[in-house]
Symmetry: none
Subunit: 194 residues, 4 copies
DNA sequence: AATGAATGAGTATTCATTCAT
DNA sequence: GATGAATGAATACTCATTCAT
C-alpha cells in the first residue's frame, strides 16, 4: 500500500508528469526541426524548460526520445498503408502515394533521414521501431503492386525505404535539390515496362 | 665554381617528402574507409605514423586532404564520361555505365557520399572540385541521352549525382542493402516510357 | 496542495552554485596574480578544483571571468572619484589620490595592466567595462582640475588611464621598478607651471 | 691548416654568409614591424627566404635575433646621448631630445616595448644589451640635468627607460593614443618646479 | 521526482625546436 | 652550411552523462 506512505495523490503526479512529457516532446520536435535530431541534449532541455536529467529520466537513450517524438507520425504512416490499399483502385498508385507521404515525413524532419542511415548502435531502437512498424507496410504495398503486375522489381521494403531515406538525406535548404522528384524517379523505376 | 654559390639542389628533399605524402595519402585513404572522411586528424596521423602537424603541413584543410586522397579516381571518373560516349553506341547505355562507375567509386569510399551531402562549408573545396570536374561530365551524358530521346526527365546532372550520393550513403557493411540496385532503379526511372 | 504542483524551490542549488562561483573567482584571482590574466583555463580550473567546463558554464568568455574577478574593485574605483572630489578641497589633489588608488589596484593585479593594453578583441567586454565605468570618472577628475586651473594639459581621461596602465605594466616583482613613483612624475607633469 | 682540406675558399663563404645574414636581418625587421617581435620563427624564415634552421644557426635565441636586428639603432641611440650633451646648451633639453629619439625608436618597432617589459628569461640577453649599452647613457643625461639643477627627481636611468617603454607599449594603431605626448608629460614631471 | 551544476574526455590547431638529407 | 620536413606539446572549447541537493 504505497499510497498510505506517500500522502501526495499519485494521480495528480501522473497527470503532471504526462503533461511534462508532452511539452518535452513538443520542444524536442521543434529543436529537431531547427537543429536536427542530433541536437545537443542541453538545447532540447532548455527549449523544454526542464533540466537535462529530466530528459534522461524519461528517455534514457536518444533513440527513445526520437521514437517518442515521431511515434504518432510513424504510426500514422503505418496505418496509411492498408488504408491506401483499400481506398485506391491501383496498388501501384497506393504505393506511390504512400511513398509520397513517407517523403513528406522525412523532408520535414530534418536530420531524421540521416539517422535512419546511421550505423551507430545507439539508434538501433529507432531502426527496430521502423523495422517492426512501417517496413512491413511498405513491403505489403510492394507485394500488392507486384501481384497486380505493375511492379516487377524484387526489391525488399526495407531497401526501398533505405533508398528513400538516402534520397531525402540529400535534401537541404541550401540547394534546390528536390528529394520528391528523385524519389519519383526511383518509384518510376520500379514500374514494369509496358 | 658556380656550384658553391648555389648551396644545394632542392630536389633531394622533395623526393623524400613526396614519398612521405604518398604514404600519408594511403594511410588517410584507409582511415577514411574504416572511419569515414570525418575521422579525427590524430587518427589519420597515427595511421600514417606521423605527427598531426605533418598532416597540416601537407594539407592545411581537411577538404584538401580528401581531394588529394581521391583526386586520381575523381579525375578518372571525369575522363570516363567522354570516352564512354565515344565508345558506346547508345548514349543512355553510356550514362548507365558511367553511373555504375560512380557508384563503384562511392561505395568503396565509405563516408565520401556523406561528405558530398554535407553542408559544412569546410567541404566547399571538395564540392567545388566535383562541381567543376565531374558534374559537367554527368550533365553531358544526360544531355546526350536526352538528345537521343532515351531520357526525357529534365533532371540536372548535379541533382542526379546528389541522388546517387544519397543512395550510396545508405550503403553499409552491416546490412545487405545494395546501393547499385537502387541506383539502377533510379536510372531506369530516367528512361523514357516506350 | 499547491506545493506539489510546484516541484522544488530553485533557491537551494543557487546558494551552492553561488558559493562555488565565489571560490572559483578567488582561485581565478590567485592564478591571475601568479600567471597573469591570460593563464590557461585549465590552470584556473585546477586551482579552483573544478573541471574546465565549470569555468565555461559560469563565464562563457575569458573577459567575463576577468570582469567578475575584478568587478568589486573596479566599481569601488569608480565610486571613489566623486567622493574624493567632494571630500578634497583641491581638485588636483583629488585626482592625484584617485590615480594612486588606480595604481594600487593595477600593481596588485599582476597582468591586468597588460590586458588593458591588449588589442585582442576578446578583451573588448573588459575594455568596455572600464570605458563605461571608470574612464568617465577619471575624465571628470581631470575636468575639475582643469577648471580649477591646476591642470592645463588637454589629455583625455582614457589616455591618462592607458598611460598609467603602461607604467604599471612595467612593474614586476623581479626589479625594484616603482610604478607609483613613475605615475607620480606623470601626474606632476600634468600640473600647470606656476 | 683546414684550408688545404676544404678546397672551397673560406673568404667567399664568409661573404656569402654575411650577405645572407644581412638579408635575414632585413626580413626579420620587416616582420617585426608588421607582426611584432614575437612573430613565429617560420614567418621570419619565409620572409627571409631561408629555412627555419638557418635562423637558429645564426641566432640560437630570439633575443639574439632581436638584438641583431636593432643593434645599429640601439648603438646609435647610445652614441646620441653624449653628442646631444655636447651640442646642446641645456642638459635638460638634451635629455628631452634624447628621450624623444628613444620614443621614436620604440613606437616604430612594434612590440619591442612589450618585450622590454617582459620578464621571460629568454629576453635577458636583450635586457642586458640595453642595460650595458644605453641605460648608462640615459643615466648620464639625467645626472647632467640634475647637476644643472633642471631635474630634481632622483629617478634612475633604468627606471626612466622602463617607464618610457611602458608608455610606448600602450601605443597601438587602433587608438589615437599618443605615446609621445605621454612621455612628454613624464619628462615634464622630472623638471624642477621653478 | 526534478533540477542543473559539475565532470572530463575528445578534437582541432599552432609553433618552437630538432634532425635527416 | 643550409634546408625544410617532422615533431609533439600545449590550449580552447563542446557535450554527453552523472550526481548532490
Amino acid at each position: 500500500m504505497p499510497k498510505s506512505t506517500t500522502p501526495a495523490p499519485p494521480r495528480a503526479k501522473r497527470a503532471d508528469a504526462r503533461r511534462n512529457e508532452k511539452s518535452l516532446l513538443n520542444a524536442a520536435a521543434e529543436v529537431f526541426v531547427s537543429s536536427g535530431v542530433e541536437a545537443p541534449i542541453r538545447d532540447i532541455a532548455k527549449a523544454a524548460g526542464v533540466g537535462t536529467a529530466t530528459i534522461y529520466r524519461h528517455f534514457p537513450t536518444r533513440a527513445e526520445l526520437i521514437i517518442a517524438v515521431y511515434r504518432h507520425q510513424v504510426d500514422a504512416l503505418a496505418e496509411d498503408g492498408p488504408r491506401l490499399l483499400r481506398e485506391t483502385d491501383n496498388a501501384y498508385d497506393a504505393l506511390r502515394t504512400w511513398v509520397d507521404r513517407f517523403v513528406d515525413f522525412l523532408v520535414t524532419k530534418h536530420g531524421l533521414a540521416a539517422v535512419l542511415q546511421s550505423t551507430d548502435t545507439c539508434f538501433d531502437p529507432l531502426h527496430d521501431y521502423f523495422l517492426d512498424g512501417v517496413v512491413p507496410v511498405c513491403s505489403h504495398l510492394l507485394d500488392a503492386a507486384r501481384e497486380s503486375g505493375e511492379v516487377t522489381s524484387e526489391i525488399d521494403g526495407i531497401h526501398l525505404m533505405r533508398a528513400i531515406g538516402g534520397l531525402c538525406a540529400g535534401a537541404t535548404d541550401a540547394h534546390d535539390y528536390d528529394a520528391r522528384a528523385m524519389v519519383d524517379l526511383l518509384v518510376t523505376g520500379l514500374r514494369a515496362r509496358v
